[in-house]
Amino acid sequence: MLDVAGLHAHYGRAHILDGVGFTVAAGEVAVLLGRNGSGKSTTMKAIMGLVPPSAGSVRFEGRDIAGQPPFRIARAGIGYVPEERRIFTDLTVLENLDVGRQPARAGLRSWDAARLFDLFPSLGAMRDRPGGRMSGGEQQMLTIARTLMGNPRLLLLDEPSEGLAPVIIERMVHAIAALKAEGLSILLSEQNLHFARLVSDRAVIIEKGRIRWAGTLPDLIAADDVREQYLSV
C-alpha cells in the first residue's frame, strides 16, 4: 500500500529525515513510534508533500508520489490528520466537513456527514457550532472526520491521543478499530506504547530521523531492550 524508501527531508538547513524507509500493508494499522522530536510528524508531512522530500521515494499503491503537491497526494487517496488538528475555527462542524469532501472512490463505501456522526456521535449534536468553540477531544474527532470526508484509502494519524482524556482515548480506540474493519489502512504516530498497543498490528521505531526497528507489536512488547533504548523517557 505505502512504501517509503530512503526519504530525506530538511527544514531550511536542518537535516531532519535521514533516509527513512518502511512499509504499510493494505488493511493494517502501523504505528510510528518515537520520542519527542524524533521526526514522526516530519515523516508524515513528507509523505503528504507538506514538507517537500529532498531525496527518496514514496510509493503509494505502486505510484511514486514524492514531490507532488499535497492536493494531488490527498486526491490519490491519502488522508492526513495533523497533530495540531488545525480545525477551521470560523467554520461550523458541517462546513469543516464540507472542506474535506472529495468525490467517491471506486470500491469504497464513501463517507458523508451522517455516517461520520454515527462514528462520532458527539459531533452530530453540534453540527452548527464553530470549530473554535469545541473542546480538544471534539476537535480531534472533527479533524479525523474531516479527513475521512475525502474517502482516503490510507489514513495518516499524527498522535491522535495527545492531550486527550482517558474516556475520549477509549472512544478513539473504538473509532480506529471501526475504520480498520472498513478496510482502511492506517499509519499512526505515537510517543508511548500504551495507546499504540491497543490499536496497532505493527510498529516502526524512529529516532533522530532514522528507522531503528520494525516488527509486530507482540515482538516489540517482548523486546525490553528496544523499548528501553528508544521509547522510555
Binding site: 495533523p82 488545525r86 467554520l91 469543516n96 464540507d98 472542506v99
Partner: protein
C-alpha cells in the same frame, strides 16, 4: 437641512463605490495575504474598458439599456479576467515571498497598466454617457436627487448581501474562508489551492472593475484614478479590518460620509480628516473596526533575516574607490551631470533612512516621503518667508522632519505589519494634504519657487561636495547605529518582540527612536533636495515619492546594509535614463521591477552577497 440630506445621500453613493473596490481588495488579502497595490489599476481599467464598450456599441445597441448595462457587466468580467491573468503570470509565483516584495510586484503592475492605458486611451479625460433608465432625478423627502446616485446607494448593500451568500452558502465560499485561516491544511484536504486563488482573484478584480465602470455616468475617466482610489480603498480596508467584508462596508460608509460632510463643514481639511479618523481608529483598535488579530496564514514560512556581520574587506575597498571617484567627479563632469549625481546622493540618503526602519527595525513605511518632504518644505519655508540663509534652512530641514517623525512615529510604531504600514501612508497623506491645501503658506500646487543656495554654494561643484559630505556622512552614521547597542536592541525587537521585552528592551521606545532618527535623516536629504532643485512641490511628499523610496530599498535588498545604496543608484539612475529616453518609462520601469521580484527576490545587493558567499 436639505443640503445635509443631499450630502448624506452623496456620501452613501460614494460609499457604495468605495465598498466595491475595498471588498475586492479585502477578499484577495484574506486568502492570499497579498496587499494588492494594483487593485486601483483594475478599477481604472474597469472604467476605461466600460467606456470603450459603451461608446463603441453596434448600431442597434447604442444608447439602449441593454447596450449600456451589458457593457457594464462585460467590462467587469473582462477586468476579472485581467486580474486572473495577473495572478497566474505573476502573483502565483511569489506567494512565498516576503510581504513587501509582493507589494513591490503589484506596484510594478500599477506602472505597467498606467502606460498601457495611456497607449490605448490617450492622456485626455474621457466622458462617459448617462445611464439609460436612470437619467434625471427623483424627488425624495422634499429634495431632488439624481437617480443614478440612488441606484449606487442600493448597489453597495446588494453586493454585500450577494457576497455574504457566496461565502456562506456555497462550497466555494466555504473553501475560501477555510483557506483564509489555513491554506496549507486546505490543500492537504485535496483542494487545488492554485485554482482557488485564481478564482478569488477573478472575483476581487471583477469587483474592482465593476466599481470603476459604474463611475462612468458620474465622472470622467482619467489616468489618475488608480492611485486616487487605491489610497482610499486601503483606508477603508484597514479601518474596517483586513479581511472583513462587513468591516469594509462599515468603513466605506464612514469614509464616504466623512467626505461628504467634510466638504460641507471643513472643505479645506477633508483629506486630513479622513486620514485622521483612520489614525484614531487604528490606535483605538489596532486591527480595525471588525478585524481580528489573525495569526499569519499558515503555509507561508518566512526565512529569518541573516545576521549582520562586519563589513567585508572587498566592500570597504569598493566603497573607498567609489568615494574617491565621487570626489574626483566634479573635475571631470559637466554641470548637468554633476546635478544628476547630486540628486543620486540625496536619494542614497533617503533610501538609507528608510532602510534603517525597514531592515533592522522590521517596520515597513509606505509614507517615508512625508519626512523627506517635511525637510524640503522646512528649508523652503524658511527661505521664502524669513529669507533665511541656506545653512539655517538645511538645519531646519531635519528639525521639522524629526518633529514630524516624533509625532507620527508615536502612533505608527505601536502597530505592526500591514496596519503599521498603512498608518504611515495615512500620515504621509495628511502631510501631503497640508502642503497641497494650505495655499497661503505652502503655495499649494504651485509650490515654493526660488529656493536657491547662497552665493558661496551656487556653484554646482560646491553644492555637490556639500551634499556628498552630508549624505555620505549621515548614511555612514546610520550604518554605524545598526551595529551599535541601539541597533542590537532594534534587531532583537524585530526578531522576537516578546523575548526582547523579557531581557529588558523597551521595544516601543527603541522603535520610536529609530523612526525619529530615520525621519531626521530623510529630512536632511529633503532639505538638500529643495536647494538642488530650487523649488518644492506637494509631490515631494506624495505617494509616488514614498514608493520610490520603497523601490530603492527593496531593489537593493532589505537584508543587506549596502542594499539601499545599490538600490538608490540603480533605481534613480534607471529612472533618470528612462525618463529622458522614452515617454513609456513607466512601462519599462514596471517590467523591470516585476522581473527583479521574480528573479532576484533578495534584491540586487542580496543577490551579489549570495553569489559571493558561494
Amino acid at each position: 437641512m436639505e443640503d445635509l440630506l443631499i450630502q448624506a445621500l452623496n456620501g452613501l453613493a460614494s460609499a457604495s463605490s468605495l465598498f466595491l473596490v475595498a471588498s475586492g481588495l479585502t477578499v484577495i488579502f484574506g486568502v492570499s495575504r497579498i496587499v494588492n497595490f494594483a487593485h486601483g489599476s483594475l478599477y481604472m481599467l474597469g472604467a476605461y474598458v466600460g467606456w470603450s464598450l459603451v461608446t463603441q456599441l453596434p448600431e442597434g445597441l447604442a444608447g439602449t439599456s441593454v447596450g449600456f448595462w451589458g457593457s457594464i457587466l462585460l467590462a467587469a468580467l473582462i477586468v476579472g479576467a485581467i486580474g486572473m491573468v495577473i495572478e497566474v503570470l505573476l502573483l502565483r509565483r511569489i506567494y512565498e515571498a516576503p510581504e513587501l516584495f509582493q507589494l513591490l510586484a503589484t506596484f510594478g503592475v500599477v506602472l505597467v497598466v498606467q502606460d498601457v492605458a495611456l497607449l490605448i486611451w490617450g492622456p485626455q479625460d474621457l466622458l462617459g454617457p448617462r445611464a439609460p433608465l436612470l437619467r434625471g432625478s427623483t424627488e425624495m423627502l422634499g429634495v431632488r436627487f439624481p437617480r443614478y446616485e440612488l441606484f449606487l446607494i442600493i448597489v453597495g448593500p446588494v453586493v454585500l448581501g450577494l457576497l455574504w451568500l457566496l461565502f456562506h452558502r456555497t462550497r466555494w465560499g466555504t473553501l475560501v474562508r477555510a483557506a483564509t485561516q489555513d491554506r496549507e491544511m486546505v490543500s492537504a484536504l485535496g483542494v487545488d489551492q492554485r485554482r482557488l486563488f485564481t478564482s478569488v482573484f477573478f472575483l476581487g478584480a471583477m469587483l474592482a472593475g465593476l466599481g470603476g465602470t459604474l463611475q462612468l455616468p458620474r465622472e470622467s475617466v482619467n489616468l489618475q484614478m488608480d492611485l486616487a482610489i487605491i489610497t482610499e480603498a486601503f483606508v477603508v480596508v484597514v479601518v474596517g479590518g483586513l479581511g472583513s467584508l462587513p468591516g469594509a462596508f462599515l468603513a466605506a460608509l464612514l469614509i464616504g460620509e466623512l467626505h461628504a460632510f467634510g466638504i460641507l463643514i471643513l472643505p479645506r481639511i477633508t483629506l486630513v480628516l479622513v486620514f485622521l479618523v483612520m489614525a484614531i481608529v487604528l490606535v483605538a483598535r489596532p486591527h480595525g473596526l471588525l478585524g481580528r488579530a489573525s495569526a499569519p496564514s499558515r503555509g507561508a514560512a518566512a526565512a529569518p533575516d541573516p545576521p549582520i556581520g562586519p563589513t567585508p574587506r572587498p566592500l570597504i575597498v569598493a566603497g573607498a574607490i567609489a568615494l574617491a571617484l565621487l570626489i574626483a567627479a566634479p573635475l571631470l563632469l559637466r554641470d548637468y551631470e554633476i546635478s544628476v549625481l547630486t540628486e543620486l546622493l540625496i536619494f542614497v540618503l533617503f533610501a538609507a533612512s528608510l532602510h534603517f526602519i525597514m531592515g533592522p527595525g522590521g517596520m515597513a513605511s509606505f509614507g517615508h516621503a512625508a519626512y523627506f518632504g517635511a525637510g524640503a518644505y522646512g528649508a523652503a519655508l524658511l527661505a521664502k518667508h524669513l529669507g533665511a540663509p541656506m545653512l539655517l534652512g538645511l538645519a531646519a530641514a531635519p528639525a521639522l522632519a524629526g518633529l514630524l517623525g516624533i509625532a507620527f512615529g508615536w502612533f505608527c510604531v505601536r502597530l505592526s505589519g500591514v496596519y503599521s504600514a498603512m498608518l504611515t501612508l495615512a500620515f504621509a497623506q495628511i502631510a501631503w494634504s497640508v502642503a497641497f491645501q494650505w495655499v497661503e503658506v505652502t503655495g499649494g500646487d504651485n509650490g515654493i519657487l526660488g529656493v536657491w543656495p547662497d552665493g558661496w554654494a551656487r556653484d554646482k561643484s560646491v553644492f555637490f561636495y556639500l551634499t556628498l559630505v552630508l549624505c555620505i556622512g549621515a548614511s555612514l552614521m546610520l550604518r554605524r547605529a545598526v551595529r551599535a547597542p541601539f541597533g542590537y536592541a532594534l534587531r532583537a525587537g524585530r526578531d522576537n518582540a516578546l523575548r526582547a521585552e523579557a531581557i529588558g528592551i523597551d521595544g516601543f521606545r527603541i522603535r520610536w527612536l529609530a523612526f525619529t532618527v530615520a525621519a531626521v535623516a530623510a529630512g536632511i536629504a529633503g532639505g538638500l533636495f529643495a536647494y538642488s532643485k530650487g523649488s518644492v512641490f506637494p509631490s515631494t511628499l506624495g505617494i509616488p515619492r514614498s514608493v520610490d523610496a520603497l523601490l530603492m530599498v527593496l531593489l537593493g535588498g532589505v537584508q543587506t546594509l549596502s542594499g539601499p545604496i545599490v538600490g538608490a543608484l540603480a533605481f534613480a539612475g534607471l529612472q533618470e535614463q528612462l525618463m529622458r529616453a522614452t515617454e513609456l518609462w513607466r512601462l519599462i520601469m514596471g517590467s523591470v521591477i516585476i522581473a527583479l521580484v521574480l528573479f532576484f527576490p533578495q534584491g540586487l545587493a542580496g543577490a551579489v552577497q549570495k553569489a559571493w558567499g558561494k
